[in-house]
């Protein structure tokens, strides 16, 4: 029986593959599963050109920086959301964490605390909510949608409790000026946005943190069997998401000059749209930070463009929802095609 065997063997053969220059390049450059969707990039380019023709105001540096400023809050939160969704999770509580973060810092600053103390407290609260989310999802095995829906409500409620539902005006100039000041004519908050993307984009393919986000999102069971402390890593992913949502909340206060308990309500729609539009798979294991940046830019350009061409704000919600639906349908289509091969 084994004499006429012609299939693959485990005996060394000269045909075996050595790591060619391409494999080396990929190893260095860090190609990640579910790379940037060329269709998405094309859509962005087409929109750019179209809007530049339609509106004389669109392709001006001030307008482009305005888009960046408008998307900073959603963008910072979407980086954390990307990591959580890649790891097979989900976080609906980001908007509530933003509000809580802003309210806590505004309250502490109003009570005479120095800015670093107030900000650190806010970030720690964000990390705390992340720990809670991660623990409920990981150790208690509750579906992340339900778990973070619950913390969304709890944290939002506590934000209202903190001030009896009132907004808190911030009179700290450093904080408020941060929302409008620029460095080399680039707004500080756009710099924070880009720095967040840069750090996460470099870290995901190069660190154990990123590797395990992909591995756990791909197959939590395989990761666990390989000895990966899956639940502890889940805590880490939700903690980063919570911490970044808290940072986004501080940026949100800087932009408008006061903290509201209702801040960031419904923002999870924009955050998740940017992530899914950017090619991150809802089922986990696939996605990139760069993809989310492009998804974010697309939403920003659409919002801005709709305003420039005079579409009423209410219609923008309809358009955004439709885009999210299209992105999810595309993801589903791609996945079912992937499964067939």
């Amino acid at each position: 029986m084994s004499q006429d065997y012609t299939g693959p063997t485990m005996v060394p053969t000269p045909a075996a593959v050595a790591p060619g220059p391409r494999a080396r390049l990929i190893a260095v450059m860090g190609r990640r599963p579910g790379g940037v969707n060329p269709g998405l990039l094309a859509a962005l380019v087409v929109l750019f050109i179209g809007l530049s023709i339609f509106s004389p105001y669109f392709f001006a540096p001030t307008n482009l920086l305005n888009i960046g400023r408008a998307m900073a809050i959603v963008g910072i939160a979407s980086v954390g959301e990307t990591i959580v969704i890649i790891s097979g999770g989900f976080d609906l509580s980001v908007g509530s964490v933003m509000a809580a973060s802003g309210m806590i810092s505004a309250y502490l600053v109003g009570a005479g605390m120095p800015l670093p103390v107030a900000f650190s407290t806010s970030i720690l609260v964000g990390i705390g909510v992340g720990l809670l989310n991660g623990a409920i999802v990981g150790y208690a095995r509750i579906n992340p949608l339900i778990a973070t829906l619950a913390t969304l409500s709890i944290v939002r409620g506590l934000s209202y409790v903190l001030s009896g539902g009132q907004e808190i005006v911030v009179d700290n100039e450093t904080w408020v000026n941060f929302g409008t000041d620029t460095f080399l004519s680039i707004p500080y908050i756009v710099i924070v946005l880009l720095a967040t993307f840069l750090v996460a984009g470099l870290a995901m393919p190069r660190t154990l943190f990123g590797r395990y986000a992909y591995a756990i999102g791909s197959s939590a069971r395989a990761a666990r069997l390989a000895g990966v402390a899956v639940n502890r890593w889940r805590l880490a992913f939700y903690v980063v998401c919570g911490g970044l949502a808290a940072l986004a909340g501080l940026v949100a206060v800087a932009r408008i000059g006061y903290a509201q308990p209702s801040a960031g309500a419904g923002i999870e729609l924009d955050v998740i749209t940017a992530v899914i539009l950017g090619g991150t798979s809802l089922s986990g294991g696939r996605g990139t930070i760069l993809g989310t940046l492009i998804g974010l830019a697309l939403i920003g350009v659409i919002n801005n463009g709709l305003t420039l061409v005079g579409v009423p704000a209410y219609w923008q919600l309809v358009v955004k929802g439709s885009i999210l639906l299209a992105a999810v349908l595309y993801d589903e289509l791609r996945r079912s095609r992937h499964d067939e091969t």
Partner: protein, 252 residues
Amino acid sequence: MTALLTIEEVSKSFGPVVALRDVTMSIDEAEAVGLIGDNGAGKSTLVKILSGVYAPSSGRLRLDGRTVEFHSPLDARRSGIEMIYQDLALCNDLDVSANIFLGRERRHRYGFLSLLDRVGMATETARILDELGIAIAPDREVGSLSGGERQMIAVARALQFQPRLLLMDEPTAALSAEKIRVLLGLVDGLKSRGVSVLLISHRFTDILHVCDRIVVVRQGAVVGEIQPHAQPPEHTMALMHGLMTGDRPTSA
């Protein structure tokens, strides 16, 4: 040949349900043994005892003649028993190299920063696959590979733990066409490296030619043993379904 692993009068009960009754069998060094039986015959329970998931209710396991007790799958791994699950337990979205090194990634340290040594792992993966004669590039996404290729990756991965016994649960489940050939190549390669293999299946035709011996279990007990190249398949079928009593194995 000397016995690598001996299973002596192992029984396992779950409350009033007896899953295994006085199972006695052995696996020699560099031997491929098949374990077949219908669903519910006790195969999975036995495999879970061997891989450290369950502790036997009574009886013992001997490795190289010494009694061993596994309290966790990690204990079994440390003793040189590696398990390949039916679904292969691979991360389909990761590449071959990431799967081979999953859980024990190599890293470079730069002060407080610790970065993955991706080039090092890809190079080492290429070397491992080359040594095994597996012609798959380290940067291929595992989900894009065929069932047979994925099984090779699972085996290559398991071999990194230097196992002495490889348990393969339903190894033909991941394979479509050419399945016996692929499996035969893999098992022959493992045997030539001195690794013993226990193949668990409910379809004896799939593993018939791959195994040196096939142990038949039915209703939690060993009901017979088959030399695949000596006996006609009808005998096995009869053993499985209890139409014949079959001989108890003499290896105990």
